[in-house]
């Protein structure tokens, strides 16, 4: 079920009523309802893949219980390895099998040896990378004794399948989300209102910003060989806003929906395009994944400790794995590599932990706004580097991305893209919408999301919400389009 669909618009209020008015007296019933609703939500795409979630739930629950009874280190390790193998095994088969086989065959062919191909015709289950990492975090935390294993199967099933964040995150840690399924939930007016506001803003980002940008980005990337440099720049910019609107929009809707049911999910985006360096960008972009890799991969392999060589190696590993997590394609690996290259100079000069307590123009420790022209220059440079990296992310092949970037650097960069790009696209409207979006994001950059605190006057706030609803009605693309991150 898509968040931006009529189905979800019907599903959500029904569930809300059942949750707060029918099952509210009994925590277990509420959790059962969440599991049932989550399975309906997921099964709406393809009910066959529910078996994967069920299997993953049973395996990790059992491993958690067994870990609690086991004190011998070797057996504990064996249980952890089982969980990792099962979870990553599914991911490997569904997501990466064909990639490895194809590259293996290409490698042998390159050396003049033909080998038979055994590729599988598999459909990638929606959100497999997200719930796999979420369940893995549980097993690892239980193994490390950071978390008491749960003996409540329903709560665990609800934790694994919790519908708002099941298919595209935020990738929750068991330490944060699982305990919320044990405690009684009481309805909180402010949280619920906040949830609705965040849903509204997420929807705007997705159906207005991302979907309008997508139309232009898709056209430009699909026809990049025949377009002027200025049009290519426009296409890359549109994709930059498309992916942000799409993914952060999903996260906002997920977080807002969870709030309606009394849950707090972690923040996943924090105005990443206002970052002053690439390290800050990565602290603000897909936070749940970055911190997951930091805690379960980067730190275990040494993190920023050890020799310079080891530090650099660890940085490359985390960026390459992060790229590969996104998809079985060399373009994602190249995207990860490029980000590592951006990051290394900051790491070598020990500047990668600057800007921790402020967002451009606002200091959180002193709670005041400030102005530094140099920071704006840094922001523009960081944004431009990010745009270049996104070209690799969006391109179909590495050569496509390279040709795209090379084509940008020619005289036609000084031309104006043709009206509607010659195919009737609504270019001017999209640009105006992007500007409107940037202004709202900029104004709200010190909050959790842009429209969290619009005005102290209720009438103005309500008008702003109504205006956003109107903008959705006036500018949304009327064909339902799935979220980009579903494919990961």
């Amino acid at each position: 079920m898509l968040f931006n669909s009529i189905d979800f618009a019907i599903f959500l209020p029904i569930l809300f009523v059942l949750y707060w008015f029918v099952t509210n007296k009994n925590l277990r019933y509420q959790n059962i309802l969440i599991v049932a609703a989550s399975y309906i939500f997921y099964g709406w795409w393809d009910w066959r893949f529910l078996s994967l979630i069920c299997f993953s739930t049973i395996v990790d629950y059992t491993i958690g219980v067994l870990l609690s009874k086991q004190n011998k280190e070797i057996k504990r390790k064996l249980l952890l390895v089982t969980s990792i193998v099962v979870n990553l095994g599914f991911l490997g088969i569904f997501k990466y099998y064909n990639f490895f086989i194809d590259n293996f065959v290409s490698l042998f062919t390159f050396f003049g040896k033909e080998i038979p191909v055994y590729s599988l015709n598999l459909v990638l289950p929606v959100g497999i990378s997200f719930y796999t990492f979420q369940t893995l975090s549980y097993s690892i935390d239980v193994y490390k004794r950071k978390l008491q294993p749960t003996h409540d199967f329903i709560a665990f099933a609800a934790f694994v399948s919790f519908f708002p964040q099941l298919v595209a995150g935020p990738i929750e840690r068991a330490t944060n989300l699982l305990p919320q399924f044990y405690s009684k939930r009481t309805f909180n007016y402010n949280k619920a209102v906040d949830g609705l506001k965040q849903i509204l803003w997420g929807l705007f980002k997705k159906v207005v910003i991302a979907d309008n940008c997508a139309e232009i980005a898709n056209y430009v990337f699909d026809n990049s060989n025949n377009l002027s440099a200025s049009t290519l720049v426009l296409g890359a910019l549109c994709f930059t806003f498309q992916i942000y609107g799409d993914f952060s929009g999903y996260s906002d809707i997920a977080i807002g929906t969870a709030r309606l049911f009394g849950f707090s999910l972690m923040k996943n985006f924090s105005f990443p395009y206002f970052s002053r360096d690439i390290a800050e960008f990565w602290r603000r972009w897909h936070i749940s994944l970055s911190t997951w890799f930091r805690d379960y991969l980067y730190i275990p392999i040494g993190g920023s400790k050890g020799s310079k060589f080891k530090q650099l190696r660890n940085t490359f590993v985390i960026f390459l794995v992060s790229g590969f997590w996104h998809g079985a394609n060399w373009t994602f690996i190249a995207w990860g590599l490029l980000n590592a290259i951006y990051f290394i100079p900051l790491q070598l000069t020990k500047n990668n932990r600057k800007n921790l307590y402020s967002i451009i123009g606002y200091d959180f420790t002193q709670k005041k706004y400030y102005f530094k022209l140099f920071e704006y220059l840094q922001m523009v440079i960081t944004f431009s580097l990010t745009v270049i990296a996104w070209i690799f992310f969006r391109a179909t092949e590495i050569t496509h991305a390279c040709n795209y970037i090379i084509s940008i650097f020619n005289k036609s960069i000084f031309t104006i893209p043709p009206k509607g790009l010659g195919v009737g696209l609504n270019l001017s409207t999209t640009i105006i919408l992007i500007l409107f979006f940037i202004i709202l994001e900029w104004k709200g950059r010190r909050f959790h999301y842009a429209i969290e605190s619009l005005s102290k006057y209720k009438a103005l706030r309500w008008f702003a919400y109504c205006f956003i609803i109107f903008s959705i009605g006036m500018y949304m693309k009327t064909t339902e389009s799935p979220f980009i991150y579903f494919q990961f």
């Binding site: 309805f187 195919v423 009737g424 109504c466 205006f467 006036m474 949304m476």
Partner: protein
């Protein structure tokens, strides 16, 4: 919870009213490119045609269909033969809109023959483009609301809201017989003469050559056939030529088999007549020369010049 529900119950009507007000402001004061999901009334051929049609009654031939009908069936050539004709085509007109127009005007027009331009393209369309065109520029009646409810689309809803507002607050003015469309001249009787000779293929993005038939279109088409049958009006189905490349984009065999079940059907793509691109202004539409050749062929095919056959 009570407070939450109370606030929601207040916010819903407030947001609906604000939405309506903003639609009216946008439609009245903002340029078209800033009204993505709203079509406002323009001095276009649909507006002029739907205004003019009310002056016609008891005609011989009625032409129906999309822009491939209103810019192809040149009413002047038929009038020269002594027929009283009207071209009721409209932009992107699909069977859903044809049904609305027939419900509205058929009894008064009371034609003896209907020549209905059909193609796989319109049967696969969702009918949104044409519905907004007809709601924005035509009469506001039961059929408009019925079509809006049937299609249930945001763009149609917005257009309908603005249309209601215009109906209530805008003064009705005399609609001229000229249109504000470049290189296009409205000819009395519904035909639009397009003065473009050069071939310039239409480029569009997305799935604009959908192949699967839309069930709602088929249902509306069957209603049209029944309507004609009940009134004993001869209904002829005609497929106006596409360029060869365009024609090959569609599943023509299935379409032709389907459509010929409903009456006399002529696929002019299969008649080696207008295969050269010199007859086209784009992949969908004939140019002035093509229109001339095609209408002559229609007159021949239907023996309209034959004195013994007078509709």
């Amino acid at each position: 919870m009570k407070k939450f529900l109370k606030q929601i119950l207040i916010f819903i009507p407030v947001s609906i009213i604000t939405y309506f007000i903003l639609i009216c402001i946008w439609g009245s004061y903002f340029p078209n490119f800033l009204c993505s999901n709203l079509i406002t009334s323009k001095n276009n051929n649909t507006k002029v045609r739907l205004n003019e049609v009310t002056n016609y009654e008891n005609i011989d031939i009625l032409f129906l269909g999309s822009s491939r009908a209103f810019s192809t069936f040149d009413v002047r050539m038929y009038e020269e033969l002594g027929y009283k004709v009207f071209n009721l085509g409209s932009s992107g007109q699909s069977p859903i809109q044809t049904e609305v127009l027939l419900n509205r005007y058929l009894d008064k027009l009371n034609p003896k023959l209907i020549i209905y331009e059909v193609s796989p393209k319109v049967f696969a369309s969702d009918g949104i483009e044409s519905a907004t065109d007809i709601i924005a520029n035509g009469e506001l009646d039961y059929y408009s609301f019925d079509m809006a409810i049937n299609l249930m689309h945001l763009k149609i809803l917005n257009t309908l809201i603005f249309r209601i507002y215009s109906e209530v607050f805008y003064k009705k003015t005399q609609i001229p017989l000229s249109i504000d469309e470049p290189k296009r001249t409205y000819i009395k009787g519904g035909f639009v003469q397009v003065d473009l000779k050069e071939y310039n293929p239409l480029k569009r993005i997305g799935n604009w050559r959908k192949k699967e038939m839309n069930k709602k279109q088929v249902e509306a088409f069957e209603n049209i056939v029944t309507m004609a049958k009940n009134r004993e009006i001869k209904l002829s189905l005609v497929q106006v030529p596409f360029t060869k490349e365009e024609y090959l984009q569609y599943d023509n065999q299935s379409f032709n088999e389907f459509i010929s079940k409903y009456g006399s059907y002529y696929d002019f793509n299969q008649i080696e007549l207008l295969t050269d691109k010199k007859y086209f202004r784009d992949n969908l539409h004939l140019n002035t020369e093509g229109v001339l050749v095609f209408n002559k062929q229609i007159i021949k095919q239907f023996k309209l010049a034959d004195e013994q056959i007078k509709y």
